[in-house]
């Protein structure tokens, strides 16, 4: 077990060093959040002004902006589409061979790479999150319990998101071109997971459908805990469901990978 941990921690360390070479990613990432937030702020300001409303479906204007701000941060932290594209390329080009002849798991190795690549984001966004209660007091992280609940839900969200991407990546064993699938999922995920509009503001039918999928556990769930939009008695049951989705997606990924590796030719496409 110790050897296993050391092995994969060294992957994180290696990618962490690589990531430090490309600090511009973090700057652009932070710009993406603030530019996205500025657009949402302006749109919802118009909506609130036009309606003359102080509250829409339980959201005050400031509460909604705080919620969307957190959603954007969580959305970016859990997104592993860039790693997924790399994984697809390694299957397409036969580079996967190097994982097959070494004692490393394709799934875990890339998960650690994803964590390593995102490490700069984690530092920057953690700083923003620490400043959050000071910038927008009373809208999030009311107690330490909320902080703890948020971190737990966020970790589940990051893992679940990666596991979903992994399932899609493994289809590259049969179909050369699954990048489109990953990109299409990524585009739809931004809206359907509640990253730019809270799920509570969706039409009832659309929301009911999304609640049947793991999408609500990617962004909406951690942010609802942080902003106290979810009653505490629902935290544990929802975490259990989120965990169950993680297990289901991991198993599905393993099954698809095992079937896929049998048809893998081991040469460049």
């Amino acid at each position: 077990m110790k050897g296993w941990i050391e092995k994969y921690l060294s992957v994180v360390r290696m990618t962490w060093i690589q990531t430090l070479e490309y600090k511009a990613n973090t700057i652009v990432g932070a710009f993406a959040i603030f530019s996205g937030l500025a657009i949402e702020f302006l749109i919802w300001k118009q909506v609130f002004q036009a309606q003359g409303a102080t509250e829409i479906r339980g959201f005050t204007f400031n509460g909604l902006i705080a919620y969307i701000f957190l959603c954007m941060i969580v959305g970016q932290l859990k997104s592993s589409w860039a790693t997924s594209i790399e994984m697809i390329e390694s299957i397409r080009t036969g580079e996967l061979n190097k994982y097959l002849i070494r004692p490393v798991s394709f799934f875990t190795y890339h998960f650690m790479m994803f964590v390593g690549h995102n490490s700069l984001f984690y530092i920057v966004y953690t700083t923003i999150l620490i400043l959050f209660p000071i910038m927008l007091p009373g809208f999030a992280f009311m107690t330490n319990l909320h902080v703890g609940g948020f971190i737990m839900a966020l970790l589940l969200s990051i893992y679940l998101s990666y596991a979903i991407y992994y399932c899609m990546v493994c289809f590259a064993f049969w179909f050369g071109e699954v990048r489109s699938l990953v990109i299409a999922y990524n585009i739809s995920n931004i809206v359907l997971s509640g990253q730019i509009i809270p799920l509570r503001l969706f039409p009832d039918t659309a929301r009911d459908i999304i609640y049947l999928t793991p999408l609500q556990y990617l962004v909406d769930f951690p942010v609802s805990i942080a902003t106290n939009q979810l009653p505490m008695e629902l935290w544990l049951p929802k975490m259990a469901v989120s965990f169950a989705w993680c297990v289901a997606m991991t198993l599905a990924g393993a099954v698809i990978y095992r079937a896929g590796i049998r048809v893998y030719g081991g040469f460049g496409a």
Partner: protein
């Protein structure tokens, strides 16, 4: 001059035929590109239908107007994808690996070649579908849209497209100064996001910035306004000036950037 223009048009046509042949070799990419487009359009429509379930109009843009605004957004995006996306997005990689040498050695204008070498031919299908969709939406629009609006719209759309090219090209060429600016595509995507929302949400100083230094409002909102509410000579004139400024700047920056280029591993 005339010969030169004819030569470049003919060259572009050859590049298009070459790109089409390449794209047809990978039919899954071709279909995949269309699939991504459909998802992107659907998600944008969904986003605005949620917003408009809480409001009748955002500024002057009613739900009916915004649906046309969205089609114009997709049309502009597809036009950009068709001509430039296969090129400018890769400029950083070409510079880092030294592949840019192959562009510079050809007996043609280097900026022309790095901008037009690879054409995303699958976008033709989207262009046709979106054009039909736009005409059909405008035909059933609650107000009559005269032909003059269409004529001015086409000019405005073209100018917006040139402005987009200018912005994207300037961001992409910054790789000459940053040595490896692999996130330039992401950065321009984030900046261009401002063009995908109706301009009536932007007010005050921010609006002025988006009309001048970062002219995102001129890319989609102004063409849509011209199509729906009639030609405005002030807007068209301003678009022309900004398009020229960005085009000239792209030329200057490209020349300065090339002076810093050190071939492979620069």
């Amino acid at each position: 001059m005339e010969d030169s223009v004819r030569r470049y048009i003919s060259l572009w046509w050859s590049l298009f035929q070459n790109s089409l042949t390449r794209d047809m070799e990978f039919k899954a990419n071709f279909l995949g590109g269309l699939f991504v487009d459909v998802i992107f359009y659907g998600i944008q429509f969904f986003f605005f239908s949620v917003i408009y379930s809480y409001v009748d109009a955002i500024g002057v843009f009613t739900k009916e107007d915004v649906m046309i605004f969205l089609i114009v957004t997709f049309l502009t995006d597809t036009l950009y994808m068709f001509f430039f996306a296969g090129n400018l997005f890769n400029l950083n990689r070409w510079m880092v690996r030294g592949d840019l040498d192959f562009f510079l050695l050809k007996p043609v204008h280097s900026q022309f070649l790095v901008s037009f070498r690879y054409i995303k031919s699958y976008a033709v299908v989207s262009l046709v579908i979106l054009s039909i969709l736009l005409v059909s939406r405008v035909v059933i629009y609650s107000q009559p849209v005269p032909l003059l609006n269409w004529a001015a719209f086409i000019i405005s759309l073209g100018l917006g497209w040139i402005i987009w090219y200018g912005v994207e090209f300037i961001i992409s060429t910054s790789c000459f100064w940053f040595k490896n600016f692999s996130v330039s595509g992401w950065l321009s995507h984030e900046i261009l996001k401002f063009s995908t929302r109706p301009d009536s949400i932007y007010t005050g100083l921010f609006r002025k910035v988006l009309l001048s230094a970062i002219p995102m409002i001129l890319i989609v909102s102004i063409p849509t306004r011209i199509l729906l509410y009639g030609p405005d000579i002030k807007y068209l004139g301003w678009q022309l000036i900004v398009a020229l400024v960005f085009l000239i700047n792209s030329r200057i920056i490209w020349k300065k950037g090339l002076l810093r280029y050190e071939s492979a591993s620069s």
